[in-house]
Amino acid sequence: MKRAIRILSRNPLSALGLGLVVLIVLAALLAPWIAPYPDHNGAVVDFLNNNKPPSARNWMGTDLVGRDIFSRILYAYQTSLVLAVVVLAIATPIGTVVGLIAGYLGGWTETILMRVVDVFLSIPPLVLALAMMGVLKPTLTNAMLAVTAMWWPWYARLVYSIARSEREEGYVLAAEVIGAGTTHIAFREILPNCLPAIITKMTLDMGFVIIIASSLSFLGLGVQPPTPDLGSMVAEGANYLPDSWWLTVFPGLAILIAVFGFNLLGDGLRDVLGVDR
């Protein structure tokens, strides 16, 4: 762990990524204490101060009902991070198990499982999530469900491709010869060799889940107001361009910075862990 951090901090871009991620996680965790207007995360109105440009009082201006945009961005990070963590915590194990089974067992199991994966992968992630949100009620839980449903196949494909090549390796053969069971070989022998790739992908995916989730709420099909969400904040402000630019620019940059941080960190991890796919 210490070694990893040392290697990461040697590359300036990876160090920047690590820094950004730490900053954003801290901002989300400490939002109730560092937000200048902690009560602005809900349905509060302050019409005396609505739609004000950035000032010393409101660093990023105020929205259409007078809430402090900086405070709302801090709370929106909470929503985004929780959503991304939950989605990956569910999608990764599902995809990993499917990929391991298909890659190690081969045969008909492989054909059927991977065709199912192909089906999911042949619909653009956002479109599939949109279709699911179309039949479900737009709530945070359902948004998580929709994004998870389209996310696991990517892990299945990643783990499958590694497991299939590892299947031929000597150590797997050795385990088979001494009579190890299928479950043991798949989870104890092959899985550890997939972990670097999985961890790298999870880091990169934190950013991509944030993108998809904010896209859903940008279209009005994700997290609903008054819960602060970066995507719906951009959507609200988009009608007031260019005069009230702060309504869209700051939430937009907030998404960019968070995803950029996870991408830089993931890229650095790829080098540290020696992942080539």
């Binding site: 065709r115 956002l126 937009g252």
Partner: protein, 342 residues
């Protein structure tokens, strides 16, 4: 040549299997909907009899397998049902809105290849130098924001702040172009109206670029990674030993072999753009499939939702077959092989 025909046959078979799966998936999503689809279609004020009639008409009282059978039978006849939102056949609606979206995605795809590949080549050639770091930074930034954020930033910078491009729409109102293909860039040329073509092209630049940005980043990173790998091959060293010009080595010996793995991912990116087009269209008021798609989703218009998703999946499958064939043509090992290589 024969191997390419065989590859095509194999790909079409796989595509058919995938499309059957997609139809099951979409049907499944539409049927797990909490609530009665007939009640949703008719609204809360319809009488119980009306709902029962529609249920019978929609085969909702039959077993789920029979329902799926009806759904597929309709599909095969090219019947996607009627949209509750527009009261027209879903196929008519899609035929009206799809070309605008496809036009946007195709132009974005051209930008992705035309800008992303050269950037990746440059980065690989100047590996570890300033240009490489700069390109890495730019391409990472490109993939780090959803396309609606890029769309908003581009509109602010290049339509409001520097009024270089139009703010929204596909073409200025002063031009009337007869609809033939629905692709304005084609229709204006068919009408022989060069100024209208220029106007439509001027309108598509910003939205297509906003859509292409993450793809440009992906394509550049991928091309760089693949080219860096080929640069380590012995034949490159040989070419360098012979004193070939670095530009020639880059273009012919290092770039060509790395193009093939890049193309596969570019096919996937194209699919992602079909999704992101929804976001860009919303910012630029682009009259494509997005506004229709979001409108029918908000109204829980099941036929239209299923139709839209099916068409997008079909487009994606077709694009992937084209990419696979392109790779087969580019790769001499497949092009000249007499054995089945698929």
């Amino acid at each position: 040549m024969r191997s390419i025909v065989r590859l095509l046959a194999h790909r079409l078979l796989v595509a058919a299997v995938v499309l059957v799966g997609v139809s099951m998936l979409i049907f499944g999503i539409a049927r797990v909907i909490p609530g009665d689809p007939a009640r949703i279609a008719l609204g809360p004020r319809a009488s119980a009899e009306q709902v029962a009639d529609l249920r019978a008409q929609m085969h909702l009282d039959e077993p789920i397998v029979v329902q799926y059978g009806h759904f597929v039978a309709d599909l095969l006849r090219g019947d996607l049902g009627t949209s509750l939102y527009t009261n027209r056949p879903v196929t008519t609606d899609i035929a009206q809105f799809l070309p605008a979206t496809l036009e946007l995605v195709i132009v974005a795809g051209i930008m992705m290849i035309g800008i992303g590949l050269p950037l990746g080549m440059l980065a690989a050639r100047y590996r570890g130098r300033f240009a490489d770091h700069l390109i890495r930074l730019v391409s990472l930034l490109g993939v780090s924001a959803p396309s609606f954020v890029w769309a908003v930033i581009l509109v602010l910078l290049f339509a409001y702040f520097l009024p270089l491009f139009p703010i929204a729409g596909r073409i200025s109102d002063s031009y009337t172009v007869p609809t033939v293909t629905g692709f304005l860039l084609v229709d204006t040329l068919l009408a022989g109206n060069i100024r209208a073509f220029g106007n439509a092209a001027w309108h598509i630049v910003l939205p297509a670029f906003a859509l292409a940005l993450s793809g440009i980043g992906q394509a550049a990173r991928l091309t760089r990674a693949n080219m860096v790998e080929t640069y380590d091959k012995p034949y490159i060293e040989m070419a360098q030993a012979y004193g070939f010009f670095p530009a020639r080595i880059a273009r012919i010996y290092a770039f060509k072999p790395s193009l093939i793995p890049s193309l596969t991912i570019i096919g996937l990116d194209f699919a992602a753009m079909l999704g992101s087009a929804f976001l860009v269209e919303a910012v630029f008021a682009w009259p494509g499939l997005s506004r229709y798609g979001v409108a029918v989703i908000l109204r829980k218009d099941l036929n239209a939702i299923m139709g839209t998703v099916l068409i997008i999946a079909l487009t994606f499958v077709i694009v992937n077959i084209i990419v696979d064939l392109l790779i087969a043509f580019l790769n001499p090992r497949i092009r000249h092989s007499t054995r089945s290589s698929a």
